[in-house]
């Protein structure tokens, strides 16, 4: 519930009238702007710094990025300085060619396919494990806070450090995982060097990184469900599964919809795990959209800025469509979000 900048309590009391009053303003009273300014200038002044920052360092680059995606800009034709010589930009506007190329070629669609597999499997496994562990930790069990502390640990370590730790474990010749397999008489697994194993390995690391957040968030949700509900259900003879199905899951809805949305977006854009573990390899087997877009502009020669921007814009559009659809589905199911 938000209220007007001035005369807060009055405005709150007069809520329904005020809405009508404002609509009358739009009929074109000359003092409209001045009135709005005198009412809202405090709020506007307070948000100004953020609006400026967003406009300058997000808005402007975004517009430029969209523009670049409509050109054939690359390393050789953008504005640049070589020594004392300043070379002007010579790239040209090519319209939607880049988008047509991306959407009709196989590379974008193949990468998108794996990105979707990656996102769905990471989120599903992370959610499942997080939910299971949260449920166990929500019981009365000896050493609960100790287990909780241990399970949170992966979240506490900076992501890039964890990823390097995993690279260390995955090392094909000398990594601990293969040494353990060798101890059991099994052949070494090319964790990061075989396309299928690499896919499995990157998903495993991302799940390992993601479970703690999921678990803690769901644990918070579980603890907000009143215990009486369970007691009443138990009195009525509901078994454990029925209690989980009819009390726990509905009680967790608002938390779980939020964390699923967040972790879907995070996983879809998860740059460091792929970049630091496999660089998208072997071949392009583990390349997701974000790392491939990065590769276009920073790892190949000549750097293809236009292609990279095109992929960037497409990723953003995909995510926004996803978020909008997700929200609409929730709203249809009566979730006020």
């Amino acid at each position: 519930m938000a209220v007007h900048t001035s005369g807060q309590s009055v405005a709150k009391a007069a809520e329904p009238n005020r809405a009508r009053g404002r609509r009358r303003d739009t009929a074109g009273a000359p003092g409209k702007l001045r009135r709005a300014l005198s009412t809202h200038w405090y709020a506007w002044a307070m948000v100004t710094p953020v609006v400026i920052v967003i406009g300058v360092i997000i808005g402007y680059p975004l517009v430029r990025g969209v523009y670049l995606s409509l050109t054939n800009a690359n390393e050789r034709n953008v504005e640049r300085s070589i020594g004392v010589n300043h070379l002007p930009a010579t790239y040209e506007f090519v319209g939607l060619d880049n988008y047509a190329d991306a959407l009709t070629g196989s590379q974008f669609l193949d990468t998108l396919g794996w990105t979707l597999v990656w996102t769905v499997s990471c989120v599903a496994v992370t959610f499942g494990l997080g939910l299971a562990l949260a449920n166990i930790l929500n019981r009365r069990i000896a050493g609960r806070s100790f287990y909780r502390m241990m399970l949170i640990l992966p979240w506490a370590v900076p992501g890039f450090v964890s990823v390097f730790a995993w690279r260390f474990l995955y090392n094909e010749d000398n990594g601990l995982l293969n040494k353990i397999l060798a101890g059991g008489g099994l052949d070494a697994v090319p964790w990061l060097n075989d396309p299928t194993w690499a896919k499995f390995s990157v998903i495993a690391v991302n799940v390992w990184l993601g479970v703690p957040f999921m678990m803690v968030a769901l644990l918070g949700g579980l603890q907000s469900i009143p215990g009486e509900l369970y007691e009443a259900a138990e009195m009525d003879g509901a078994n454990a599964w029925q209690r989980f199905r009819h009390i726990t899951m509905p009680g967790l809805r608002s938390v779980s919809t939020t964390v699923v949305l967040l972790s879907t977006i995070w996983t879809f854009n998860m740059f460091p795990v792929i970049f630091l573990l496999t660089r998208g390899g072997p071949g392009e087997a583990t390349q997701i959209l974000v790392t491939q877009a990065y590769k276009f502009s920073f790892e190949i020669s000549p750097r293809d800025f236009a292609q990279s921007s095109t992929w960037g814009v497409l990723i953003l559009v995909l995510l926004m469509v996803f978020a909008a659809v997700y929200q609409r589905v929730l709203r249809k199911q009566g979730e006020t979000w």
Binding site: A2, V50, L151, V161, A217, G220, L276, A293, Y294, L316
Partner: protein, 287 residues
């Protein structure tokens, strides 16, 4: 429905379970904890082994700090550490400073443009690095800010500012509105109310927000890898890559560096983590 207090003798009492179920629960938690802790622990153990044993599975045969002394003496680790501190610190301070009033305004006032601003804050959270990295790279190149900490700070503000504003709104929402009203009664302006009454109350929330944006900047990889080159300009995320590249790996210094980066972060994190979830879920759920 029977309302008597009689309970059958064999009815399961809440909170009590069979020994087998207990054992299974403990086993699950134990296995999960080992999986969670082991990779980190293994890196710690390896860092304490002499370099020539780094890739063996022997547990600590002889403990040595040689990896650490080598790391500090022979590599640019301290420079990278300093760079990371500088960049993440500046990003945090600027981000929190710029975003604080906005978080308050969005939490308390209704004003034209609020909905649009909220949506912008939300949507910028899902900006993939791929959308902005090329244009920002070109702009920074034009301004001569590539390879400069200042350039990286400006870039990180694109992540930190919307995030801080969003998260602080969540914390301001938890402060009772009556406090604002009492400020108003005492003749404080909205800004005075914010500055004198709300900000002191929101300190824990602001600390958590600051900590979170510090951690985000501290662990950022994509921009740091693309914008910073040359040994003396790297941040930790870039520096660590030096030890593990496609030509081979220096696991000794890598593990020592990992420990030095992770331990302070983990200690602070474990103290702050309860509030972190509150912030995320308060910001996200009540949106």
């Amino acid at each position: 429905m029977v309302t008597s207090t009689h309970v059958p003798a064999n009815a399961p009492v809440r909170g009590r379970r069979s020994p087998l179920a207990s054992a299974l629960l403990h086993l699950t938690l134990f296995v999960a904890s080992v999986i969670a802790v082991f990779p980190v622990l293994w890196v710690l153990l390896t860092s304490l082994k002499p370099a020539e044993y780094a890739i063996t599975t022997d547990f600590v045969k002889e403990t040595t700090f040689e990896n650490y002394t080598k790391l500090l003496d022979d590599t640019e680790f301290l420079t990278w550490f300093g760079n990371s501190l500088l960049v993440a610190g500046l990003t945090t301070v600027l981000g929190v400073f710029v975003a604080a009033t906005t978080g308050y305004a969005v939490s308390r006032f209704r004003f034209p443009g609020k909905r649009g601003l909220m949506w912008t804050l939300l949507i910028t959270q899902m900006f993939p690095v791929a959308v902005l990295i090329v244009p920002i790279y070109n702009i920074m190149a034009g301004l001569g800010l590539l390879n400069e900490p200042a350039g990286l700070v400006i870039t990180y503000l694109t992540i930190a500012v919307p995030f801080c504003a969003w998260m602080m709104k969540g914390f301001f929402d938890t402060i009772p509105r009556e406090i604002d009203e009492s400020g108003q009664v005492d003749g404080l302006t909205p800004f005075g109310t914010f500055w004198r009454l709300i900000l002191p109350l929101a300190k824990p929330g602001i600390a958590v927000t600051a900590f979170y944006s510090f951690i985000t900047a501290w662990g950022e990889v994509a921009y740091a890898s693309a914008f910073m080159v040359g040994d003396e300009n790297l941040t930790l995320a870039g520096g660590l890559q030096k030890f593990v590249n496609q030509y081979g790996a220096q696991w000794g210094p890598m593990t020592a560096a990992s420990v030095l980066i992770a331990i302070p972060a983990a200690v602070v994190f474990l103290f702050a983590q309860r509030h972190l979830v509150t912030g995320v879920s308060a910001g996200a759920v009540k949106g």
